[in-house]
């Protein structure tokens, strides 16, 4: 074993890149669930975002437009979910699963002409002095803009949910939609907006995969990242800061285990691969051990349909 061949600075830098797609998707899903909607279609929205972003970036030659297209495309797809669950009152779990299957299918269809094409490169931020700093430079100041955008989104969502009136209303809708309705808030509209926001974030995450991290289009390329994002929201007990922690933990362990292997460490691969999930289960157990705390964390109206007449 030769651990010295692992460069901790490069490791941290790749960890941030590896975690960005799930971070984006998870922070979006956090807002959706805070509004009381359980959207299991994250995987489908991510992969739709991946191909939308890829296609737009290839056609226009601009990665920025690609990310925009990804956000729009996935938001549009999530509005299908919103229409079904908020207007037609369909079951959220079943609809979310259907959305994943639908997203996988339609992305494969849309991607037919894009297999084996290289997307335009997304430039890394290159700050003249900061990027050259010995340790902090590669870790903090040499990523592409989307990494910073994802961090900004986490901060923004935290601030929005906890420090603004709009966030309070959104949480009220998620905790008790009947009360929110009685106060005159438009539950369906607020939830639809949250779902669209979640879709856009998932789309950005998918596009980050297809435009930066992999970067190419292949069928089924998200390979379960959406499900991990869902797990992270639960792991984070619906708190924005912990979503960041969770995403970097998952992404970090994924990168770390590959690096440990390459360095010849004798740690069983399986153990490392399953460790993030073990941590999630442990957190769930700890959370549900205390009933009052569990009730505090999960939005009370999560997954329940709302109808004004009832």
């Amino acid at each position: 074993m030769d651990l010295s061949s692992i460069n901790p600075v490069l490791l941290l830098a790749s960890l941030m890149v590896a975690a960005t797609p799930i971070l984006l998707a998870a922070i979006g899903e956090l807002v959706v669930e805070k509004a009381g909607v359980l959207n299991l279609g994250v995987e489908g929205m991510m992969i739709t975002g991946a191909i939308c972003g890829f296609a737009v970036a290839v056609e226009s030659g601009s990665p920025a437009l690609g990310f925009l297209g990804a956000a729009l495309g996935s938001a549009l797809l999530s509005l299908v979910f919103a229409f079904l669950t908020q207007v037609l009152m369909s079951n959220q779990v079943a609809t979310g699963l259907a959305l994943t299957l639908f997203g996988l299918g339609i992305s494969s269809l849309m991607g037919q002409g894009y297999v084996g094409i290289k997307p335009p490169g997304t430039p890394d931020l290159d700050l003249p002095v900061l990027s050259d700093l010995p340790v902090l430079g590669p870790i903090l100041f040499s990523h592409d803009l989307v990494v910073y955008l994802s961090l900004g989104l986490v901060a923004g969502v935290w601030y929005g949910l906890n420090r603004t009136r709009a966030g309070l209303i959104l949480r009220a809708v998620g905790e008790n939609h009947d009360a929110a309705h009685a106060l005159g808030y438009r539950v369906t509209l607020i939830r639809t907006a949250a779902i669209a926001f979640g879709g856009a974030c998932a789309g950005l995450g998918g596009a980050y995969l297809s435009l930066v991290r992999v970067p190419q289009w292949t069928d089924g390329m998200t390979a379960g990242a959406g499900w991990i994002a869902l797990a992270i929201v639960v792991f984070a007990s619906w708190k924005a800061g912990r979503v960041l922690l969770g995403a970097y933990l998952f992404g970090g362990i994924a990168v770390l285990q590959l690096n440990l292997q390459a360095a010849g460490a004798r740690v069983p691969v399986e153990l490392l691969s399953m460790s993030p999930y073990l941590v999630t289960i442990a957190v769930l157990v700890i959370m549900s051990a205390d009933r009052s705390r569990a009730a505090l964390n999960a939005p009370a109206a999560l997954g329940r349909s709302f109808h004004a007449a009832r």
Partner: protein, 357 residues
């Protein structure tokens, strides 16, 4: 009333259509482990399927299911395929082995063909290609071209096929460059572009300037293209979109002739359970163009080795070769037998690390 009219019309239509396809076409099914657009392994199997369609025209219909997980789900997919009338089913991943055998027991009249496995039955054949021949050529080029003397290897599952590839590549790399070191990463997946890209990045960050992959997507190629001065080889498919750099050559699987021959055997009623293991000589393994990024003398040496394998004059596993623990596996001039190769579960001398189990 309306519905009944519709039903009657549908029935009449079926009755009319019946005589038209009196000659029942043979249905050939394919179970794929990844999506057909993976650009690698499944992509090539699907090319074989399309070749069958083109060759037989209306006499054969093909069906396929992609991204079937290895495990319980695979048996369900195969059962479904057999129930929907498939006469011949190709199951194209090692992990389908037990599911193929189990399904074949339930459908004695359906023929099964399992790729890269070793379990057969009266209605189950196995077929595979001698990919290790291509790995030998890759190892030679890798050993000659690496400057850091570190070769990264993205391995999928610790099964004989993958271990054989690692051994063949290492053997030929170390013969031309005794200082070469292999860093092997097991990703436990055939297809996960993000993970494959991460693995390639991890290897490159740790100094590898050659990345070999035994996974199905082109993601490691893209990751290597990002880094500078790294070379790769196309896996299962040509992956020529990454030439001339980082992809300097490739192993291409050509399943089409085999699929056509086996389908023909079913049509003729001559199909028998067989074990096929073909290589460069038979055309099941092809080596993609070696680009000009490879120095001319290295290219010539690699091509000479490929030609020797094509003529069956050279076997990549020719002694002297020791096992990892230093004990003798093959004496000087001795050639490995297929049985040992098919069950290969050991590294050869010089490779560091252990095979996970």
């Amino acid at each position: 009333m309306k519905r009944r009219t519709l039903l009657a019309a549908a029935l009449a239509a079926t009755a009319l259509a019946g005589p038209l396809n009196a000659q029942d076409p043979v249905t050939v099914g394919f179970i794929y482990v990844g999506p057909i657009g993976d650009g690698g392994w499944t992509y090539e199997h699907n090319k074989g399927r399309l070749a069958v369609e083109e060759h037989f025209g209306d006499a054969v219909t093909t069906i396929f299911q992609e991204s079937v997980p290895e495990g319980a789900d695979a048996e369900r997919a195969m059962t479904q395929m057999a129930l929907s009338g498939a006469d011949l089913i190709f199951t194209t991943s090692f992990g389908y082995m037990d599911a193929t055998i189990a399904t074949a027991e339930k459908f004695p009249d359906v023929k099964f063909e399992h790729a890269t496995g070793f379990k057969r039955a009266d209605n189950v054949s196995t077929y595979s290609a001698r990919f290790y021949e291509g790995r030998a050529a890759q190892g030679h080029i890798a050993g000659k071209m690496t400057e850091s003397n570190i070769v990264g290897y993205i391995a999928s599952f610790p099964i004989p096929e993958v271990i054989r590839g690692i051994n063949a590549a290492y053997l030929h790399a170390s013969r031309v460059n005794p200082d070469v070191e292999f860093k092997i990463v097991w990703v436990y997946t055939w297809f996960d572009p993000a993970k494959e890209a991460d693995a390639a990045t991890a290897l490159i960050e740790q100094g590898a300037d050659v990345v070999l992959q035994h996974t199905d997507s082109t993601a490691p190629q893209a990751a290597a293209a990002e880094a500078e001065g790294v070379i790769t080889f196309g896996q299962a498919s040509d992956m020529y979109q990454f030439a001339p750099l980082p992809r300097v050559s490739s192993i291409i699987d050509d399943w089409a002739p085999y699929y056509i021959a086996r389908t023909q055997a079913v049509i003729d009623g001559t199909w028998q359970s067989e074990d096929t293991w073909d290589g460069i000589a038979e055309g099941m393994v092809a080596i993609g163009e070696i680009t000009d990024a490879v120095p001319a003398d290295v290219k010539a040496e690699a091509e000479a080795m490929i030609e020797a394998m094509r003529a069956k004059e050279y076997h990549p596993f020719t002694g002297p070769i020791n096992r990892q623990d230093g004990s003798v596996w093959l004496a000087d001039g001795e050639v490995a037998d297929d049985g040992t190769l098919l069950g290969m579960d050991f590294y050869i001398e010089g490779i560091e690390g252990e095979i996970p189990n």
